[in-house]
């Protein structure tokens, strides 16, 4: 079933928090509504649930991958063409440490960035109900649900003091 979305625009943090309470009272689930702001507010400003994420796993996975690639690259390439240079061992530990270290860090950083993007639920193709004034100071509350429940949410947001309520579309 196709989902519909609606956004209510607020200027005051307290009024927005009250609107969120009103949605909860009307039986809307936490995955049906979202707060949109143009600036980071302290967690729980609007009484919203604390976001849970697993970002810390990503650098670890990346670091392990980078470490393995670093070891394979340094040992594999030297063993594949074992030319003794200056009487030094084919597998010299100090240079291997350098390349492997950089590989480990590169893997950790690339995976962290991938993790940040994916854990942020990005990229997002359908914007749903949105208003450009959100990045100008307005606080948006969006509700994404089926047609009937969105109509009801529109009323709740208006009654809670939204300055404007707009409809938007979501993917099915």
């Amino acid at each position: 079933m196709a989902l519909r979305s609606v956004v209510g625009l607020f200027t005051d943090e307290d009024v927005a928090a009250d609107a969120l309470d009103a949605l909860k009272t009307e039986g809307y689930e936490t995955n049906e509504y979202e707060i949109l702001t143009g600036t980071p507010y302290p967690e729980g400003t609007f009484g919203e649930a604390e976001p849970v994420h697993k970002l810390y796993r990503w650098p670890l996975i990346g670091a392990i991958s980078g470490f393995i690639i670093g070891i394979v690259l340094t040992t594999g390439t030297q063993l594949a063409y074992p030319l003794v240079t200056g009487g030094k061992p084919i597998l010299g530990i100090p240079p291997m440490v350098i390349i492997t270290y950089e590989g480990t860090m590169l893997g950790a950083i690339i995976f962290t960035v991938i993790g940040i993007v994916l854990e942020s639920r990005l990229p997002r193709i359908f914007m749903g109900a949105y208003d450009t004034r959100i990045t100008e100071g307005y606080i948006g509350i969006t509700v994404t649900a089926d047609q009937d429940r969105v109509g009801k949410a529109e009323d709740v947001l208006k009654q809670a003091g939204a300055e404007e309520v707009k409809r938007g579309w979501e993917a099915s």
Partner: protein
Amino acid sequence: MQEHTQLTQKEINRDLLSGVLGMPKWWLGLVTLLTLVFLAGVGAFGWMLNQGVGVTGLNRPAMWGFFMVNFVFWIGISHAGIMISAILRLSQAEWRRPVTRAAEVLTVFSLTAALMAAPLVHVGRPWRAVLWVFPYDFARGIWPNIRSPFIWDPSAVGTYLIASTLFVFVALLPDMAILRDRTQGLVSKTYGIMCLGWRGTPRQWKLQAVAGILLSALVLPVFVSVHSIVSWDFATQIGVEGWHSTIFAPYFIIGAIHSGVSAVVMVMALMVWLWKWDLYLTKDHFDAIGRLLIVVATTWFFFFFLEWVFALYTLEKPEIVLRELQVFQWPYIFLFIVFLMTAFFIPVPLWLFKNVRRSVKWMFWTTVLVNIGMWLERFLIISPSLLRKTPMTFNWGTYHPSIVEILMVAATFAWVGLGMLLFAKVFPLIPLFDIKEAMVVKDEIKIGRRTVPATIRE
């Protein structure tokens, strides 16, 4: 921080996007000028490719000259961005907010300038650099020699460039969403794609905050490794006097921080003068970074002093000959005096005065001096060491940079300036969301008879 002006989000958008949504009068002229200087360098590079490296002043035994000096210099400048940004983020220093983006962008462009200076220009035949660095010849089984510092360099600099670019990109997501909302048509669509559909949910903001700290913690060890590895380009060569010191890695790192933080101050001053952002970059910011510079410069001077003590303590004849050349013979005596005066003895005593630290003009010109001095420092480390007989060479020599080298060095400076200006035309140089957050968490509190700005933190 004593100065605080409360601004609305709309006012912040208007002020900080003025350079992106409009075109300042000076912008086109400055871009044209820098493009011309850059093109002159490109022309000189083309001439060198056509004629060979004989058109430079490089010749036996001085095979490293301006190009390598410039490489080390730009790697040094690149350290400031991440150092300032990462350390201030990790320590939650409030004054970081308007400074971080410009510092990070400076890192990215100075790293590209460093790459231009060394693998692209210095090697003479740049296409061969690719063959030395990447595992390429599967058929004949010839692989890069990982025991060479010239493989460590690209791995470290490449990691640092990718990391710092991603660092900038992640912090740009919310600001690109603001630009998406303030522009129309194709431009708006492009920003929309680049910001990946950012909407500003609590989850996205939380991850943005965690990302700042996590990436800072990951990039800092890379930053330390990069200049250590650059110093090992020199320190692992047993044949050249003056490059042996065991403290080269920390000495190079602290030198990089000294020149890099100074470069950030220069950029901050230019942001105040060119974009009139004095409401965002206040005297308090210059004061704070001035205090940091005193500590950094003094630490750097300590390492410089130690390096000399270690060199002279050995009483080795070739080392003494080299140091004598560096300090007593023309033109190095002149360069050495200019270096010491500009890198330490003029700016540091001046920074001890509060009025100097709080003056944009004074801070700009003293940091320009530091960077002149630090460029000369790299020249005095690299060039004289190659001019005297070493176990691997048979003669003494001299080095005179040619006009080709001078033009190419100038082109790297133009490139960094040009890059910053072009970036500022497409993206905001001050992170808007960070400034807006400061407005949310800042307030004024009354203590006795005084009202002072305060920051609320969880």
